[in-house]
Chain length 258, copies 2
């Protein structure tokens, strides 16, 4: 089986023009089929402030009312996505930008209201790989922003980490699929104050211990849950670290195994 | 040869939610390969006002500085394009949104500065049909916003009418290509105050006479120049009128011939 790399980048790259330029140049050199998933960074919050639209958060999650969904669609699918695609083209990496509505690639359902109404937030139901496979076979790189749709005409704000893991899972039967979460740290750290204290391997057993010992908490929990979800659904390789892990084999990072 | 319809819609549909909903529903029923091109309507101007970014015009053309390009990218490629695609999916029309950067489909060059610096405005140099053909053969409808790129990483604001005619021209050798410009009138009018005075056929000869007699002027001139450019480059059929011309064969409209 051919190897497919699914790579997610977040705010530390998106929000830093120099970092994004370097990443795109390096990403373009990666051989073989690949899919890029990007988060939104701080631009959406900045635009909301400029437009006097209040940013509502609950436990670190954005509440997406209609105005906020518009902003997210403009920033994620418009400004960020198209600029990434244009820069990839400049490095001869033929890319097409996607939301989950494009090609009906990612169908989600609006999160049901329990205690909190998150608004236009979608939980992924299904990834359709057919069109993406045609593109990958034509040496085209899909670039996903963190927006999906419900097949009824409604766009939905969706977690970018989840989009990356669900895409990887959907391809796991046809490709040797590798999922890379790039963020600002070298991986999961044993000591949050020591950037070099990377835990190089985590499996289901050590994961539990790390949570119990308070080494993994807050924002790392959903990220690692996405990792284990992917690895348990036959994604062959899941890694967390800085984007250097993609381009420098000696770079320390965290690898997740079952 | 199969028939390909290239359909351009503008502000009268984009800016009117009910009109857009109806159009999308009808458009979804059109059989055979089709490409939709949409303008930006008034939303970009509205957002620029909200953000206190001055709108600079010269002879009806927007001057596109860096902030304005951002706004256009957010509105055209983000908000409008993704909402159209999501609504098409709701009507089982499998669509993918495109800027010219996506799939390297439309390459333009920044307009040279003569008397006026139009800023980040692009004149189309080339349309690459390969990827679009793959999609059309897979029963997928490309939906273009009016943004292109220069292959060096720069997005460029580009006239939507021109994008539509250049796409139609690029496909004229592989498809029986029909180009439809949908706008608020029934076609080119003999008497601008009489909506029924549609000139049903215009050829190169009558076009000259109509200009000389002041029947065609201002905004209609570049639109008709695009029409004649297309018909002279082997596009098989070029029509101007309301979008009803697509769905009701009895609807009066203007047809352009050589």
């Amino acid at each position: 089986m051919k190897t497919l790399k699914v790579i997610k980048i977040g705010g530390n790259i998106i929000d830093n023009e120099a970092a994004l330029t370097t990443f795109i140049k390096d990403f373009s050199t990666l051989k073989g089929p690949k899919i890029l998933v990007h988060g939104g960074g701080k631009l959406a919050t900045k635009l909301a402030e400029q437009m006097n639209i209040p940013v509502q958060m609950n436990e670190g999650r954005r509440i997406t009312d209609a105005d906020t969904l518009d902003i997210i669609t403009m920033i994620y699918a418009g400004k960020i996505n198209k600029n990434i695609v244009a820069q990839l083209q400049a490095h001869s990496c033929n890319a097409i930008g996607f939301s989950g509505a494009d090609g009906n690639t990612i169908i989600s359902e609006k999160r049901p209201i329990k205690t909190i109404d998150y608004g236009f937030v979608g939980d992924v139901k299904k990834v359709n790989t057919d069109t993406l496979e045609v593109l990958l076979k034509n040496n085209i790189t899909p670039v996903f922003c963190a927006i999906t749709h419900d097949e009824k005409g409604q766009l939905l704000n969706t977690n970018a980490d989840t989009i990356a893991s669900e895409i990887a899972i959907a391809f796991a039967s046809t490709y040797n699929t590798e999922l890379y979460y790039c963020f600002e740290k070298n991986g999961v750290l044993q000591d949050v104050d020591n950037a070099d204290s990377v835990i190089e391997h985590i499996d289901t057993g050590t994961y539990k211990t790390l949570i119990e010992n308070g080494i993994i908490y807050e924002g790392m929990l959903p990220k690692l849950n996405n990792c284990f979800h992917a690895i348990n659904q036959n994604v062959q390789k899941v890694c967390i670290g800085t984007s250097d892990m993609l381009f420098n084999t000696k770079n320390k990072h965290t690898t997740i195994t079952q």
